[in-house]
């Protein structure tokens, strides 16, 4: 990784922006919502850094676009700094504009009349440590919190999980397993997500946690059926909330045993779909 403090142009402070604004403003809301957005070119990062804004087309906006901070996942196009989140910034304001208003030099663009969010930002801050994507997976928007962002060791730490899921996640990590959270799997009628994916030498495991509170309401997104996953080559493990709450060691043990049956994880070699 390059030196985060060595930016040209707009100054990037080493301290959070609120620390110089008086006593009443010390500290911050660790549960503040953060949206991790993807930046795949230097020009957009320069805009965020030097001009203090980022754009999201309304048509492609995630379900949760509102946040008090934006963090930037830089794709592989950034070389040494790529495939990681290195910076975040406080959100000042959301504007609704057309693309032509946002980028007047590109008024002939086919989407010139489409509505965009222009998100005004405060100064970019370097994270205490970059948050890499270990699996080099495809990243879209990730809603998270400031607490998770600042504490994350890798991308999978950012997602908010219900408590029983969180405990299973930690148990599997403590066992030394490499686990991908909310992994998208292709299905004949579109994409669906499994809660945890583990890639092994001789196969792949899909773990689904049922009856989680976050599956209420709109999070009742498409869940793949066991037979669909099996047909696609997955070994499926499904746990209910009550199982996870009452028998976590057994659930974690079942995952670990299945990893061993499938030849282990081969030194952390990951696979992308």
């Amino acid at each position: 990784m390059s030196d985060h403090t060595d930016w040209p142009g707009r100054e990037i402070g080493n301290q959070p922006e609120w620390t110089d604004q008086g006593d009443a403003n010390r500290g911050h809301d660790e549960d503040a919502p953060v949206l991790v957005a993807v930046i795949n070119n230097g020009r957009d990062l320069a805009r965020a850094r030097d001009e203090g804004w980022y754009r999201i087309p309304l048509k492609r906006a995630p379900r949760r676009v509102a946040a008090e901070y934006l963090a930037f996942y830089q794709t592989g196009a950034f070389g040494d700094q790529g495939c990681a989140i290195n910076y975040y910034a406080p959100v000042r304001r959301f504007h609704l504009l057309t693309r032509a208003e946002l980028l007047p030099n590109e008024a002939d663009h086919p989407r010139a009349r489409d509505p965009y969010y222009k998100i005004e930002l405060g100064p970019l801050q370097p994270l205490p440590r970059p948050v890499p994507s270990r699996a080099l997976r495809r990243i879209a928007f990730i809603p998270t919190t400031l607490r998770r962002l600042l504490a994350a060791r890798e991308i999978n730490d950012l997602w908010q999980r219900d408590d029983p899921q969180e405990r299973l996640w930690l148990a599997l990590r403590e066992a030394g397993l490499l686990v991908e959270y909310r992994y998208q799997v292709s299905q004949p009628d579109g994409e669906a997500a499994v809660d945890f994916a583990l890639f092994c030498r001789d196969g792949q495991i899909a773990v689904l946690c049922d009856d989680m509170a976050s599956q209420e309401g709109a999070l009742r997104e498409r869940r793949p059926a066991d037979y669909e996953l099996t047909a696609a080559g997955w070994t499926v493990l499904r746990f209910s909330r009550s199982e996870l709450e009452a028998e976590l060691p057994r659930c974690a043990g079942a995952v670990i045993a299945t990893v061993q049956q499938l030849g282990g994880q081969g030194g952390g070699v990951m696979r992308n779909e």
Binding site: N25, P33, A66, F94, H95, L219
Partner: protein, 319 residues
């Protein structure tokens, strides 16, 4: 009949209802409106057609010492209009219900003036969203102070002093301890203000013993033709309460179990009470129902299922 819920979304984690940052961190109405967009999209996915917005969408908008926040309605004209457009696309009925600190009939002139300003800005916000006459700002009469008659009269006088948009948007709700439907009807006769009938409040405070159907019908009749009235419905909380007290002998805090207060809201709506209410209201003009339950949208979604299960003949008209 549309069912609605108020402010906080529980069914999807992480949806905030407004920008709650402190003034030092520069909260902004535009960020609140982005939160609102996320909630509207959730309501669209769930097919929920009525929602009470946070009354704190525009942070510090009327704070006398923070003038840097006073221009937010102008500053966000485009975003407010866009949220109104989105609400119309979805078919959402919106409202707001300012906090208990808004007391229009307060004898303290400063508090009354601050309350009037708050109502005026809430009304302006709804106007700037381009919402129709179904979008209301719901308030209670306020305090009794030196006497019921004077308190009611003072509300009438304060109402008459409000700017036109606030008078047009205001709706008055009977409360559970001070001003019942007889009082709100009297105020309606003086001012023309629309009345929101609150079912639980009417059960808790109805000194005239006005039958529920009669009180409901009278409130519905205060709405102009072509504007669908709304009512509030909640179920009383029945659990034992845990109260903390200091033991005078030891000085320690001790927990005591106490019987419930019927004015408190339950987590979910009691389906049999609701179904009985609908049957009582049969034949009256159509209205929408704002549910006041602690489980919020989850209570709404459950109630739909309950009505379908226990009174399927009523379920077709509810969404």
């Amino acid at each position: 009949m549309r069912l609605g819920f108020s402010v906080k979304v529980i069914g999807q984690a992480g949806l905030k209802e407004h920008d709650s940052r402190r003034w030092q961190n520069n909260p902004h109405l535009s960020v609140s409106l982005a939160y609102l967009r996320d909630i509207f999209e959730y309501l669209r996915r769930e097919g929920i057609a009525m929602y009470r917005m946070s009354s704190e969408l525009a942070p510090y908008l009327t704070h006398p010492e923070l003038s840097q926040f006073h221009g937010q309605l102008d500053d966000c004209a485009a975003e407010l209009a866009a949220m109104g457009q989105l609400a119309r696309e979805i078919g959402l009925r919106l409202s707001c219900h300012p906090s208990q600190y808004v007391v229009l009939n307060a004898p303290d002139e400063a508090l009354a003036a601050k309350s009037a300003l708050e109502l005026a800005t809430q009304a302006e916000l709804l106007d700037r969203m381009g919402l129709d006459d179904e979008a209301v700002v719901v308030v209670h009469v306020g305090g009794i102070y030196e006497g019921r008659e004077q308190a009611r009269q003072r509300f009438v006088a304060a109402f008459e002093q409000l700017p036109e948009p606030a008078r047009r948007r205001l709706a008055l709700e009977n409360d559970d301890t001070r001003f019942g439907v007889a009082d709100t009807l009297w105020i309606h006769q003086q001012t023309g203000v629309r009345l929101v009938f609150d079912n639980l409040h009417h059960h808790c405070f109805n000194p005239q013993r006005m039958p529920l159907r009669e009180a409901l019908a009278a409130c519905l009749a205060t709405w102009p033709a072509g504007v669908r009235p709304k009512v509030h419905f909640s179920s009383p909380r029945t659990e034992m309460r845990i109260a903390e007290q200091q033991d005078p002998a030891t000085g320690r805090r001790v927990q005591l179990l106490q019987p419930p207060l019927w004015t408190r809201h339950s987590d979910y709506i009691h389906p049999f009470e609701f179904i009985a209410f609908l049957r009582e209201a049969a034949g009256l003009p159509p209205f929408d129902v704002m549910l006041e339950a602690k489980a919020k949208d989850l209570a709404l979604l459950r109630l739909r299922e309950d009505v379908q299960r226990y009174a399927p003949e009523l379920a077709g008209g509810i969404w």
